[in-house]
């Protein structure tokens, strides 16, 4: 069996080499749905990060008790519990934001990123590694989300996080903040990432 990665390796891998959105194409539902502005995207990233961290730590602590055929059920229930907590906290302290995100907060339960990390990392390695892995993956997810959201909000409204950036005369591309804009932006950014990583690997070779 291969040597399992150290905490630091896990952390670095999550940000770029194994970025959950661009490299693994996981968790696409929130990636497309809540990126019409920088603020909801950041809130979503923090919510996913919090659930991922808690679930990874919890699964890592009970990994020796897990029975193989029941593990997916245990993962899902653990995640559902933490999502309920995050949902209630958000509704209590950021009511407007929780209205904006609406059903996409409970949909974190079926976000493949979290189940995937529980399966790949937390159910095999210790608490420190699992936590580092969660933070790394969450940062990668946040990076991807804010990237897409920044492009969409800038072109769609001329603003960034509610502040006017482009001149007032900018003809807002309304399509960018509507659903089709999400598909187009993400498709183009994905192609860009593919192009850059191709270019790099060719230069190194």
């Amino acid at each position: 069996m291969n040597e399992l990665p150290t905490p630091f390796e896990r952390f670095v891998q999550g940000i770029l080499p194994e970025n959950p959105v661009y490299r693994q194409l996981l968790g696409l539902c929130p990636t497309l749905a809540v990126t019409n502005g920088l603020k909801p995207a950041l809130t979503m990233a923090v919510a996913v990060g919090a659930v991922l961290l808690c679930a990874n730590i919890m699964i890592s602590l009970i990994r020796n008790l897990l029975k193989p055929h029941l593990r997916i059920v245990v993962f899902t229930l653990t995640i559902a519990t933490f999502v309920t907590i995050v949902d209630r906290v958000l509704a209590a302290y950021m009511y407007q934001m929780s209205k904006t995100l609406g059903p996409y907060i409970p949909l974190i339960i079926v976000n493949c990123i979290i189940i995937c990390r529980c399966e790949v990392c937390a159910s095999r390695q210790g608490v420190v590694t699992a936590a580092a892995d969660a933070v790394g993956q969450a940062s990668g997810f946040a990076l991807a989300l804010t990237g897409i959201a920044a492009v969409r909000e800038l072109l769609g409204t001329g603003m960034l996080a509610g502040f006017q950036v482009l001149p007032e005369a900018w003809p807002a591309w309304v399509i960018m903040v509507l659903p089709p804009g999400a598909f187009l932006t993400f498709g183009l950014l994905l192609a860009l990432v593919n192009y850059i990583s191709d270019h790099r690997s060719r230069k190194n070779a």
């Binding site: 696409l28 497309l32 749905a33 999502v83 059903p103 409970p106 339960i109 976000n111 493949c112 999400a182």
Partner: protein, 233 residues
């Protein structure tokens, strides 16, 4: 008449106007992963439709009878321990997500057993997709939509009944099938095209999805149009 019309509007809205995949972005993973051949897409779509209808039925029943504040079953059980007035204020909505995940998992299991027992050829065509569906966000999304229309209505008459919920579940699944089948048809043609290297795979699929979403934006306002054409029923 009023009621049938309402159901008709819910169905059109779920299947076309606010298509689950192209408007709400739920069920994107199979949309990109499975939509390579039309036959596979049809199998996946019918599996999702069956599970979604059944899961919506389960979650509507559980929500109405147990979870919503003042639900009959939970009030009856709580009535053994406390006064009836207090029992009617019992609110179990905090359990919603966990209960829904459980009911979806059991709906998947149930549909799988039923199909395998009674329709073996059908099981061969879409049985492989069934386990994947548990983590399909479209199903949970349908359950949550039903919940938001049942829980927290000031006027109990406004809460959705079973017929409206089932219409949403079934036609939501139909909308998913429509989107994924169109996508598979386009991708079969796309295989013959010379796509630039960075765009190959998911990127071109997403861009095609964007154009498809633009086409589906054409359905915007169809529901209000029908309403006004029929004289504001």
């Amino acid at each position: 008449m009023e009621y049938l019309f309402d159901i008709f509007l819910i169905s059109i809205s779920a299947a076309l106007i606010n298509n689950f995949v192209l408007y709400y972005f739920v069920g994107i993973c199979p949309f990109i992963g499975v939509s390579r051949q039309v036959s596979m897409a049809v199998g996946m779509g019918s599996a999702v439709t069956a599970v979604m209808t059944f899961a919506v039925f389960l979650s509507w029943t559980i929500t109405t009878l147990i979870l919503t504040p003042g639900a009959p079953l939970s009030a009856w059980v709580a009535g053994w321990f406390m006064s009836p007035e207090k029992a009617r204020t019992i609110d179990l909505t905090i359990m919603t997500y966990i209960v829904y995940i459980f009911s979806i998992a059991s709906a998947v299991q149930f549909v799988e057993m039923y199909v395998r027992r009674f329709y073996p050829p059908l099981y061969k065509s879409f049985g492989v997709f069934l386990p994947l569906i548990t983590t399909n966000c479209a199903i949970l999304f349908a359950c949550l939509t039903v919940m938001s229309n049942v829980v927290g209505k000031a006027n109990p008459a406004e809460a959705w009944d079973l017929g409206r919920s089932l219409a949403l579940g079934f036609f939501g699944g139909v909308g998913f099938t429509i989107a994924i089948v169109i996508m598979a048809g386009i991708r079969e043609e796309l295989d013959l095209c010379d796509v630039p290297k960075p765009f190959q795979g998911a990127a071109i699929t997403l861009i095609v999805g964007g154009i498809l979403a633009m086409a589906f934006m054409g359905f915007n306002g169809v529901d209000t149009g029908i309403r006004s054409a029929l004289g504001g029923l």
